[in-house]
């Protein structure tokens, strides 16, 4: 949401539709509050990956990472309470 708000063309499109976009600082503040609840190791991983890619967290579809389309081991789906990352690109994965 913050990336989209900071993207000039996206923001312009939203304003053209009539949606004000002037609360970016509020949004950033909300993110700061949320990061307190995230484990530092995971937060670091997220921040590192987000520097390289537009989308940091991507769904796995047909056992493929939808960020780089590399095959994701089937066993990843059954990992409980673990945050899995793509072995190829490092994006954080989620299963739908």
């Amino acid at each position: 949401m913050i990336k989209e708000a900071e993207d000039g063309s996206h923001s312009a499109k939203m304003q053209e539709m009539g949606f004000p976009q002037d609360g970016l600082s509020e949004l950033k503040k909300a993110r700061e509050e949320l990061t307190v609840h995230v484990k530092p190791q995971l937060l670091n991983r997220y921040q590192r990956v987000s520097q390289n890619y537009e989308r940091t967290v991507v769904p796995v579809v047909n056992e493929l990472c939808t960020g780089c389309f590399a095959k994701v081991p089937t066993s990843f789906r059954y990992e409980k309470n673990a945050v899995m990352t793509c072995e190829s690109c490092g994006r954080i994965l989620y299963f739908t």
Binding site: S9, D22, G23, L27, R55, V58, P59, T96
Partner: protein, 161 residues
């Protein structure tokens, strides 16, 4: 600016579901209205993360109200909690204070939620088309006055493109 392909009225209408139309919203506050709409979409799509979706929508409202005036609001956003794009149509006869840009009560709501990645940026296409739908006074009054899903769908299908 990225050009977004046009979506026909029929395509737009196909995203509306009868089970996601609330013709008599009971909520009296902004938060409760969002809760009621999120509840509808979560029940229909069997989504467990109600809280996450609500939090995302409230955060989106902090960027700027999605009530763009003339009694209409478009709460929207992307979330990992959904697989496909969903639209909830809701109507409040008495109106709700939704921090509208014209400071007037909001009567008609189009809640749009989509996954972070979607085909052809469907999310923006749908949002743009729904905003277009209510731009002129006659269309807006028709949409606001719809009393059944069939009527709403006929109105949407009949508008342009």
């Amino acid at each position: 600016m990225t050009s977004i392909p046009l979506m026909t009225s029929q395509e737009l209408a196909s995203y509306f579901r009868e089970s996601l139309c609330i013709f008599d919203l009971k909520a009296a506050t902004k938060r409760d209205a969002l809760v009621e709409m999120v509840e509808a979409v979560c029940s229909e799509r069997e989504i467990k993360d109600r809280g996450l979706i609500l939090e995302m929508l409230l955060n989106r409202e902090s960027l700027g109200s999605t009530a763009i005036g003339k009694g209409v609001a478009f709460p929207h956003g992307r979330t990992l909690s959904v697989r496909d794009l969903s639209i909830v149509y809701a109507r409040s006869v008495s109106g709700i204070d939704f921090d509208s840009v014209d400071k007037k009560p909001t009567h008609v709501f189009f809640l749009i939620i989509a996954p972070p990645q979607d085909r052809d940026n469907l999310y923006l296409q749908v949002l743009g088309r729904v905003v277009d739908l209510i731009k002129d006074d006659a269309s807006r009054e028709q949409v606001a006055g719809a009393s059944s899903f069939a009527e709403l769908k006929t109105i949407i299908e009949g508008k342009g493109l």
